[in-house]
Amino acid sequence: MIPRRALLAFGLLAMAAASPAGAKPHVGQPAPAFQAVDADGRTRTLAEFQGRVVVLEWTNNGCPYVGKHYSSGNMQRLQRQAVKDGVVWLTVVSSAPGMQGHLTAPQAKAWKAKTKAASTAVLLDPTGRAGRAYDARVTPHMFVVDRNGRLVYMGGIDDKASSEPESLKGATNYVTAALSDLKAGRPVATPVTRPYGCGVKYGSAD
């Protein structure tokens, strides 16, 4: 069993090596591997969550679209439900130092506590490496990876491309739908949607 897991991990790493930044992520194909330090200083990789469903949420605490989902408690609700169902929820910050939304580890911890976020971890990606590997373009940009490490959803959090809090009413949440599909063993009905929000504040140098 252990060798098999190791093999899988090795396979994922090999895949990551074979498809570095540049190859855009494709639904139905292995999700791009990444490595990032979380708010507690631990190095996290996608490979360590092999066998579990993983949600990736790109965030920027200064972005009004992110604000809509956090101020209303919508994002935290989603996180709590998902984590309760055994899903790994990773919130990724790809803002470069000096750019809007950039967080240091202590800042990320404080932000997580303040917003009562229920995500598994907040990953710090100041170089934008993980963000670029996923072609994450906006905040919030959402990705769902199934138990086999395949990307099964990418796109918006819901179908209301607006920063107005009222737009949450009656919105169809695509991440909830994708997680329900996975839970029921169905293929994800809507695997690709249009992400909306603020552009990810990548460093312009790279």
Binding site: A18, S19, P20, A21, G22, A23, K24, H26, V27, G28, G62, C63, P64, M99, Q100, R132, R137, V138, M154, G155, A161, S162, S163, E164, P191, V192, T193, R194, Y196, G197, C198, G199, V200, K201, Y202, G203, S204, D206
Partner: protein, 709 residues
């Protein structure tokens, strides 16, 4: 009285409308403005949401691109029967932010929309349309802003006069908005890309260099990916990177959006299906001048000027110098006969210009015939190279004094080394051009590329300028007695000088033999060396015959033998087909320091799909600047290390022999010749073109940048 009151009310209302202050929402000022001072019952006029955006900030188009949100108005329900239409969106601008590209507006923008009054509207009443305008205003950060906007419109019995300020502005905005021009359009998947073809009268003959497709909806294309332009007789084909929505089956079945040509813009609706004909085949639009003209098109006068400068520079090129050395000797011989010098200078100039025009004409004809050739093609044919090598050898032997060129020979035109007479000067000019051609490519690529995509007349005038520039120094020397007088007086030194000048010619012959070896391998080398030995013997015999004739002896048998041997050498060198060396099979000696693979478009695509940065070197054995770049800038330890460290693939496209695929790729980048250096970033997209003169530092910097982008 009533009418007076109504009129007064109307005036007040108009004044009120005019006084409506723009709302400042934080980073923009906004207001509703109308093209007319009122609206008649049943009439439709246009109003507009005006945005005056703070410098550095922008708002968005109907498709915001990678991020952002379009501006919108949420209307409070208007009075019964009144309707407002959707925005007529002006053509947006591309707004790059880091690696993302958004579509939107900066500065001041009007978003026009239609307002229709019901037929039941009562003249004299004033209707106020109001709503909340929402904007996402972004600089690097984004701020959603909103403001209540109002438009008061008096109902007038007949069409109201235009608003003096906003009437023309709104009509101009409507006139500039993308038009439906009855364009035929379709798209198809081509491997990992989408080909969008658009044809129609509006595109015929239009300047397509700025063409860009803005899709109405996000998710259809990768907004940040560059759009390669291929022109056709009836329109164009854009190569687009598909957006996320093509990842699901069946995927989008149509691409609708705006095709912008920089100025004019057209609405396009392209279903998936067979592409309309005439949308491709003419290559990319001419490259914007790489010589510093910026993004502005390289106009004919500028191109001609560059061509003239390029021609002047050619005089300094190593493959021209030997000819010039020869010509210098010739001028020195006539330095004290002004009229002769002038005549010779002019003849040389005429030879140069005529050759450029003939070459250009041939190139244009071949281009028109669709032949895959490029500038410098004459040195891609082994028989031509072999013939030139022998010619150079003959010229060198002549300068060495092995034989003299008689007037009769000279006048046949084969006496290229003839140092006397107008015909000799003319053919010296011709020879200079033939040998100079490969050198023109690196310097003149932009102008040549431009010229080759223009009308034949424009192309010919550029070549004319090139020729004039090339010939200018010598014609000037011929006409400036002051310069001529400074030339040393004829004397015994001239013979030594002439003999010394033989060595550049031997060098040129050796270089051509080396080129031939690159093309035809060791067998070709053996043949050309054998032919060279036979030719040398023939010319020695010819010289002997000349000396015997001068001494009054019988020279005919010797001359005949010389002629026969020369013929044998020439035939041996030129007639049998050269077995072409396989490209890439024999890396040329010193350049093996940095390992490379042969270039192919497929290989580039495959490497890009792997996410590897790619460095492509378009080179040719006969291209001197390519070889220099290779030695001083590419085949270096530092470059090898950078390539290994960044996992960069090095591909070489060897154009020593004719190759249609390479010629097409050069044309795609607006070039007619080598060298061309392309660096594809790890993130894919269009390659970066490196300068034609490289340093090791430039290459390493470009490679490191490519790994990061």
């Amino acid at each position: 009285m009533m009418r007076f009151l109504a009129g007064l009310l109307m005036a007040l209302a108009t004044a009120g409308a005019a006084l409506a202050q723009p709302v400042n929402t934080g980073h923009l000022e906004t207001e509703l403005v109308a093209e007319a001072r009122g609206v008649a019952p049943g009439q439709t006029i246009h109003a507009a949401l005006r945005q005056k955006i703070q410098k550095g900030w922008h708002t968005y188009w109907r498709n915001a691109g990678d991020s952002g949100e379009p501006s919108k108005i949420e209307w409070t329900p208007p009075p019964a029967g009144w309707t407002t239409g959707a925005f007529v969106w002006p053509t947006p601008h591309r707004l790059p932010v880091g690696p993302l590209v958004n579509y939107g507006y900066e500065g001041e923008v009007l978003l026009p929309f239609a307002v229709t009054a019901p037929a039941t509207a009562r003249p004299g009443e004033t209707v106020t349309l109001s709503g909340t305008a929402y904007f996402l205003v972004c600089e690097e950060i984004c701020i959603p802003e909103q403001g209540v906007v109002k438009l008061s419109l008096p109902v007038t019995a007949g069409p109201a006069p235009a608003d003096p300020k906003w009437g023309p502005a709104i009509r101009a905005a409507l006139a500039a908005a993308p038009k439906r021009a009855g364009l035929a359009a379709a798209f198809e998947k081509r491997g990992e890309r989408l080909a969008l073809a658009v044809t129609g009268p509006a595109l015929k003959g239009a300047d397509l260099a700025e063409a860009y497709f803005f899709p109405f909806e996000p998710g259809l294309i990768d907004h940040a990916a560059p759009q390669a332009i291929e022109r056709g007789p009836e329109g164009l084909t854009l190569t687009l990177a598909p957006g996320d929505e093509f990842q699901v089956q069946p995927g989008p079945r149509a691409l609708a959006g705006v095709l912008s040509l920089g100025g004019a813009a057209y609405e396009v609706a392209a279903p998936m299906g067979p592409l309309p004909s005439g949308a491709g085949g003419l290559g990319p639009p001419p490259a914007k001048s790489a010589l510093g003209a910026g993004s502005a098109g390289l106009g004919l006068p500028m191109a001609a000027l560059f061509a003239l400068l390029g021609g002047l520079i050619l005089n300094l090129m190593p493959c021209v110098f030997p000819i010039l050395a020869m010509k210098a000797a010739s001028l020195a011989g006539h330095a004290h006969e002004g009229a002769t010098a002038r005549k010779q200078g002019l003849a040389f100039g005429a030879g140069v210009v005529a050759s450029f025009l003939v070459l250009a004409g041939a190139l244009i004809a071949l281009q028109a015939a669709g032949a895959a050739v490029g500038w410098g093609f004459q040195l891609q044919s082994p028989p031509v190279v072999a013939g030139l090598a022998l010619l150079m050898l003959a010229v060198a032997l002549n300068l060495s004094g092995v034989f003299e060129v008689g007037l009769s020979l000279q006048n046949t035109g084969s006496g290229l080394a003839g140092r006397g007479g107008v015909a000799g000067a003319f053919f010296t000019g011709v020879l200079a051009v033939v040998v100079a051609a490969p050198c023109t490519a690196p310097f003149m690529a932009p102008a040549l590329g431009w010229a080759l995509t223009q009308t034949p007349a424009a192309a010919l005038s550029v070549f004319l300028a090139l020729g004039v520039g090339f010939a200018l120094p010598f014609v000037a020397v011929a006409f400036a007695p002051g310069l001529l007088a400074r030339l040393p007086k004829p004397g015994p030194w001239m013979d030594a000088f002439k003999k010394a000048l033989a060595f550049p010619m031997y060098g040129a012959a050796a270089w051509l033999v080396w080129v031939l070896t690159q093309q035809a391998g060791a067998d070709g080398l053996a043949r050309i060396l054998a032919a060279a030995v036979v030719l040398a013997a023939a010319l020695w015999l010819a010289g002997a015959a000349q000396r015997r004739r001068l001494a009054g002896g019988r020279s005919l048998p010797l001359a005949a033998a010389a002629g026969a041997l020369a013929l044998v050498a020439l035939v041996a060198a030129i007639v049998p087909r050269y077995a072409l060396a396989t490209p890439g099979a024999a890396p040329s000696g010193a350049t093996a320091a940095v390992p490379y693979e042969p270039w192919s478009p497929e290989r580039v695509a495959a490497l890009q799909a792997e996410g590897r940065p790619v460095f492509v070197n378009f080179t040719a054995a006969w291209c001197v600047s390519c070889q220099v770049n290779d030695r001083v800038a590419i085949s270096r330890d530092g470059v090898a290390k950078a390539m290994a460290a960044q996992n960069i693939a090095y591909l070489k496209a060897d154009w020593t022999q004719k190759d249609a695929v390479i010629a097409a790729e050069l044309a795609r980048h607006g070039r007619a010749g080598v060298p061309l250096y392309l660096v594809y970033g790890a993130q894919g997209g269009a390659p970066r073109i490196l300068p034609n003169i490289l340093t090791e530092g430039t290459v390493i910097k470009a490679l490191e940048a490519a790994a990061r982008s």
